[in-house]
Amino acid sequence: MATEESPQVTRRATRSYSASNTAIESTNLPESYKPTINDLGFRQQPLRLEDLLSSFPGRRSQILELLRLLGPLNSPMFPILVYGGPSTGKTSVTLQVFRHLNRPFIYSSCITCYSPRILFESILNQLLFHRKDSGHSYSSVKRCERPSDFVNYLREALENVLTNLKGNSGKVSSKMSGRPDGTMVYLVFDNLERIRDWDKSSTILPFLFNLNDILKMPEVGLIFISNTSPDTYYLNIGYVEPIPLYFPDYTEDDLRHIFMANQTNSRLYASFLDVVLRPFCRVTRQVDELAAAFSSLFKKYSEPLSDKEVAPNEEMKRRLFSHIRPHIASALNETFQVRSQPLLKAETNEETKKTNSSRMLGIREDFDKIDFHMSTSAKYLLISAFLASRNPATLDASLFDSTGVSDSRKRKRKASEKSMDQKEMAEQELLMKGPGTFPLERLLAIFQCITSLAEDSLDEEESHELTVEGGSRGLMSDVLLQLSSLCNANFIIKGGSCPLEGSTRYRTAVSEDLALKVARSLKFPLSKYLYRR
């Protein structure tokens, strides 16, 4: 109890509060960090040009062009738009160039600053050396929502910073004191393409591109980084476009250089890359996706080797190749997934007895288990939503009548030519329209039918499994609460309301594979209820 541990605390306090209090009294709380002008530069060891060029293979011409456009110290510049595909190194090259040049810059990304207000306030915080901390209850230094206010505050803040920098430039050489060079400030806006999805994008985008003209301060340089090409930003209002700087995707040779860096056994990795790089490059050439695939494949590749440091000769390369070959085809069809822990253990057990799993050409047979946890009622709800979306409403009565299982297989008539064409058209329509919508009442009705079936079938089996779940009592959780959590997890999409009825309609967003997996985990015969035309 609190009073026993610290007798000086006389008032009533919770246990955790007094425990933390004693901790605070014993140690001095460190002063919260106050940023200064030195923080505008990159606060690491400065980089030489050769190191910069060698740490980015394949980007030599882009780095040199960026250096030329930024120009010598204190030289004004036109705005630059750096664009290229994702994970081509735009942000890292820009930041490392600033580290090499040791010039003050402000960086803001439109992913973390997802609204105009947050973007403006983040820039002002950095310029006014304000860090959000608990002392100010994590507020920014100025509240700024509109572009007009932003321009006024920005001008004041920039003038402060520039006078500060000018004062510093007359003093000791900055290389000794870690201060950034020069009297210009650069603003870097990253992930500009996200602004297109904002509500106010039609005013914010022209504002940002015209910021140079609005501010009319030659000591400010603007750099925009974007994943999409400049023609996606053309709006009705014309402006003099920023100078474009293109980062093309890496070629295969560049990818080889990138992956070979920092490898302990470079000969082994080189032979590995010879095998996998070409087929994977046909699927994707993005570094992050390839890196995810290669890391797990390389472990498999070097499995049969007892000594990981050895450089392979031709004979060993051939053996390793034949070992890895069946795995490549299956790995090509995977996208990066984060598996939960229990399944990883199951994976190592299953691998020892797994046979060649590519029965269908290249399509991997996934585990029959779903790799996330769902409560039983949520699973039933998911299945009912899937059935409600898939089947037309008129069939419900026949499928879910009171006797439970019914036979939905119609008597097969001999298919004529016309009905085959109609079938194809109907299938195409189904593909195009996607899953249908259903109201809440229908979902709950199907849910009740299914769960009552499940209880009946469970009662027939041994009941020792039920003691864990509590039998029929386990399925009586709050269904509406489950429904809203399924909506939040994007398993069910909540649509607009039908204007005639006024109730909201829902639609399922899971694929048939996932629904089958969920049904299999419940031992529910889903295929009997699916309507096939």
Partner: protein, 421 residues
């Protein structure tokens, strides 16, 4: 890391000088404004007569972006401020920032307070601000001081109800004031956007800013790129630089280059940006501007963006685009991910390609194409459905796709065959 400053090479100094010149609008537009019938002189005449004769006036400056409207205006204003230092005060508004009337009046009040050293209250309401503005207009009129309102991006002020414009122009007419309203816009028909009551109070004076003639352009380029002889640069270096520059400017290839560039981007602003790029590419070791720099700048401005995007795609993404093209040829106007997948499967079945991948990998490629804006959703309201079911359309024509496939390294021959059908 010693303390000595590195000796600046003359080429570096020249680079710095040229770059700062090209970024300075005053320097650029002054020589173009020297002749007596230029926009500069006309504008100066109009404003100075309003100042000296104590009358109200309004004028529109029209021209595409980069033709120097605001730059010339700033030149005129700085000259007039030197001539009549006490008789002019300038209020600057921008349509991108202040198109909302509340915002605009607040900004006017703030700038008036700053000029006349009054205290500005942030919580003043719209009525307070407008009364303040009218009172200031009256006071300045009595003191024979002209207030010049510069409304940049004027077409944004003409959206909505035009309350600000009406109150400003009305105040000018009714109150004993001396004010000049200068609207700057890139839309040549912006006076048609004005309401009737606003237009009747607006004088229909317009100044058009067109691109200069060819000779003027050439003279301009020579003037702006030549190094001055009397600066801190070594004399012989500057002389040689200017000599080489003259040779380049009279070269036929250069004339062609400039013609190509100017046929797409015909304003001075664009030309200045092009020259800035060319100057930045100048080789510091050689120390002189060369034709190659200009060519590099031109090619970096003439990128074919969609072709680049196609070249950045992987083979799987090319397959998907070709499938969509085939669906279009089959007159299926709207298609979504699943219909593309059926087409992909049918291609694989008929031609036995080696590139058949699972649905999740194809979905990732599909999303990458969406991100590059090579395809896009047909409507933006379909957030009800998941990505796989929303209908999409191709954003490149079949000619572009064909060209992209041909220029793709190691493009599978099957794709070209499919496109040709």
């Amino acid at each position: 890391m010693g303390r000595e400053k590195e000796k600046e090479k003359p080429s570096e100094k020249a680079l710095n000088l040229l770059r700062s010149r090209l970024s300075d609008p005053n320097f650029i537009f002054r020589p173009l404004s020297d002749s007596p019938d230029s926009n500069y002189s006309k504008l100066k005449f109009i404003i100075s007569t309003s100042v000296t004769e104590a009358c109200n006036n309004s004028i529109l400056l029209l021209g595409p972006h980069g033709s120097g409207k605001v730059a010339v205006l700033e030149l005129v204003l700085s000259d007039l401020l030197q001539q009549y230092p006490e008789a002019i005060s300038v209020i600057r508004l921008n349509g991108l920032l202040h198109s909302d009337d509340n915002c605009a009046l607040k900004e006017i009040a703030r700038q008036l307070c700053m000029e006349h050293q009054l205290l500005f209250s942030k919580v003043a309401s719209f009525d307070d601000n407008s009364q303040f503005m009218i009172a200031m207009l009256r006071e300045c009129g009595l003191a024979h001081k002209t207030i010049i309102f510069v409304l940049d991006e004027f077409d944004f002020f003409a959206q909505g109800k035009q309350r600000l414009l009406y109150s400003l122009l009305d105040a000018m007419q009714s109150v004993n004031s001396q004010a000049v309203v200068i609207g700057v816009s890139c839309r040549l028909d912006v006076d048609q956007l004005l309401e009737k009551r606003v237009r009747s109070r607006f004088s229909h004076r317009k100044l058009l800013f067109l691109s200069p003639s060819k000779e003027d352009t050439e003279r301009f380029m020579e003037h702006i790129l030549s190094l001055p002889m009397d600066s801190s640069l070594p004399h012989n270096y500057a002389a040689e630089f200017n000599g080489r520059l003259k040779k380049i400017l009279s070269d036929e290839r250069f004339k062609e280059l400039i013609d190509t560039y100017l046929s797409f981007n015909f304003t001075i602003g664009h030309l200045v940006r092009f020259l800035f790029q060319a100057v930045s590419y100048m080789d510091l070791n050689a120390g002189f501007l060369s034709l190659g720099n200009l060519k590099t700048a031109l090619s970096s401005n003439q990128r074919q963006l969609k072709l680049e995007s196609i070249r950045d795609c992987s083979v799987l993404e090319l397959y998907m685009m070709v499938c969509m093209k085939r669906l279009e040829v089959k007159e299926q106007t709207s298609y979504n991910f699943y219909s593309v997948m059926t087409e992909y499967k049918s291609i694989h079945d008929s031609f036995q390609t080696s590139d058949y991948y699972a649905a999740n990998v194809c979905l990732r490629a599909f999303e990458h194409l969406l991100q590059c804006q090579l395809i896009s959703f047909i409507d933006n309201k379909g957030h009800n459905q998941s990505v796989e079911f929303r209908p999409v359309k191709l954003l490149i024509s079949s000619a572009e796709l064909h060209q992209g496939l041909k220029s793709y390294q190691q493009c599978p021959a099957i794709l070209l065959k499919l496109m040709d059908r």
